[in-house]
């Protein structure tokens, strides 16, 4: 909790990540709106636009999640303290999850204003957003911890993250495609895809817990 509090306090004071993520997502929605020349989207196209935008906005935050630890010696401070190193993993996952939740709280309504004629799909969409957030946060924390020591960090994170996140993107887009149906939310297959998202989250949580200690070694 102490480390999570530190991350949130620092972000609140410096606004290093969140404003850029929000601005990126809103700008991308504007580009889609005029690029596709459509005032409403439905089905998998709506899901694709939403999740692609959220994924790339998330990468901006993922890139920066360990920068203060690297530049200000946080890694050494953790390694010197009598705490399990997975505490750092957990706190970073939680911080990223909160950043993404705040991002979605702002930009999903913008998406709805730009592209949806029926807003009733937003309530069940929350479950998909939570599942996807957890997946992005866990995988993003793992990848970011691997890439943070590299000078090519900004390049490495998307290169490593994007292939691994494909199953999550397929599941979240499929789960939300029915919700964005032109005739109103259709729940066929929704539960199954949500389960796939949950399984993905569970697998990477276990992987992260198992390997994070080794990633912090010199």
């Amino acid at each position: 909790m102490a480390l999570l509090g530190k991350d949130l306090r620092t972000e609140f004071r410096t606004m290093r990540s969140l404003p850029a993520m929000v601005l990126f997502a809103v700008t991308t929605f504007i580009i889609f709106r005029y690029g596709l020349d459509r005032t409403t989207l439905s089905g998998s196209l709506a899901g694709g636009v939403l999740w692609t935008t959220l994924l790339f906005a998330a990468i901006l935050g993922i890139n920066r999640i360990f920068v203060s630890e690297l530049e200000e010696g946080g890694f050494d401070a953790i390694r010197l303290a009598p705490v399990d190193r997975t505490v750092l993993f957990t706190s970073k996952v939680a911080a990223l999850f909160i950043y993404l939740a705040v991002l979605q709280l702002i930009v999903v309504p913008v998406f709805a204003v730009f592209f949806l004629s029926d807003w009733s799909s937003l309530v069940p969409l929350v479950a998909v957003l939570v599942g996807a957030n957890l997946g992005f946060s866990v995988l993003g924390t793992l990848i970011s911890s691997m890439a943070v020591n590299s000078r090519a960090r900004d390049l490495l994170v998307p290169l490593l993250l994007l292939p691994l996140v494909v199953p999550l993107m397929i599941a979240t887009t499929a789960a939300s495609a029915g919700l964005f149906d032109a005739a109103g939310p259709d729940y066929e297959g929704f539960g199954t895809w949500l389960l796939v998202v949950g399984l993905y989250d569970g697998v990477f949580l276990l992987v992260g817990y198992a390997v994070f200690d080794f990633l912090l070694e010199d």
């Binding site: 102490a2 200000e72 390694r79 010197l80 303290a81 705490v83 070694e217 010199d218």
Partner: protein, 244 residues
């Protein structure tokens, strides 16, 4: 090397009982480049060892190995009875490390940094608050403690970094040029927290041989190849050498 050891004390240190640090054939390489070569030494508990040597001789590397922040390439390392790197987890919380970097978050205040450290070390809130207040007052930083570190001068950062290094009252202090950036007053004030004290073992990297020797029980000089220089090493009542 000319040694005239106190037999009983050296026997205890050499056997490991009562030894705070024991290095046997320590080597550390960065890729193909050796940083430390065949370092043997023993430091008894409560002693102060000063590490001297030119830039790049491996002083900071040795300190980071002792602090469990770096793995040795080969050789035996025992700190406070724990064999490294296998038992490094047992040492956490028993070492106070002050390196070249202050290990402070720039966007937190001085006090917030210390509170974070105290929580990581599991110090109860009330006790942590009392210790923080005490240490800040000793180093005359209490009036600026609630400012963000990013606005501090290098000397002020060093004072907070010293408070950070000792907030958990460690048994072993590893200090890499602790006086750097400190003015004469700061140096004097900092001695209350990191100077010699009963039962406190210290390893001190310094570029000021005369000042360092004044409070050293053991002076080790590393040469440019990362070996202990026997001519310039004063083992006092402990033992040190290369490749013995």
């Amino acid at each position: 090397m000319d040694q005239q050891p106190d037999a009983a004390r050296n026997k205890a240190a050499g056997s490991g009982a009562g030894a705070a640090i024991r290095l046997r054939g320590l080597n550390r390489e960065y890729g193909d480049r050796p940083a430390l070569r065949d370092v043997d030494l023993t430091v008894a508990r409560g002693e102060t060892m000063v590490l001297l040597g030119p830039n790049g001789s491996g002083k900071s590397t040795m300190l980071r190995i002792l602090a469990t922040l770096l793995r040795p390439t080969s050789g035996g390392v025992e700190v406070l009875g724990c064999a490294l790197p296998d038992q490094s987890w047992k040492l956490r919380g028993r070492i106070g490390y002050l390196g070249h970097e202050p290990l402070l978050y720039r966007d937190l205040t001085g006090r917030e940094n210390l509170e974070l450290q105290a929580r990581l070390h599991g110090i109860p809130r009330k006790e942590a608050a009392a210790r923080i207040e005490h240490d800040l007052e000793l180093l005359e930083m209490n009036r600026r403690a609630d400012d963000r570190v990013t606005g501090f001068s290098a000397g002020m950062r060093q004072r907070i970094a010293i408070c950070r290094a000792v907030i958990h009252r460690p048994e072993l202090l590893l200090l890499d040029e602790p006086d750097s950036n400190l003015d004469p007053e700061g140096r004097e004030l900092s001695r209350a927290l990191i100077g010699p004290a009963e039962g406190r073992t210290r390893v001190l990297v310094s570029h000021e041989p005369e000042r360092a020797r004044a409070e050293a029980d053991l002076v080790i000089t590393l040469d440019r190849t990362g070996r202990v220089d026997p001519v310039k090493t004063d083992a006092g009542q402990s033992e040190a050498g290369a490749g013995r």
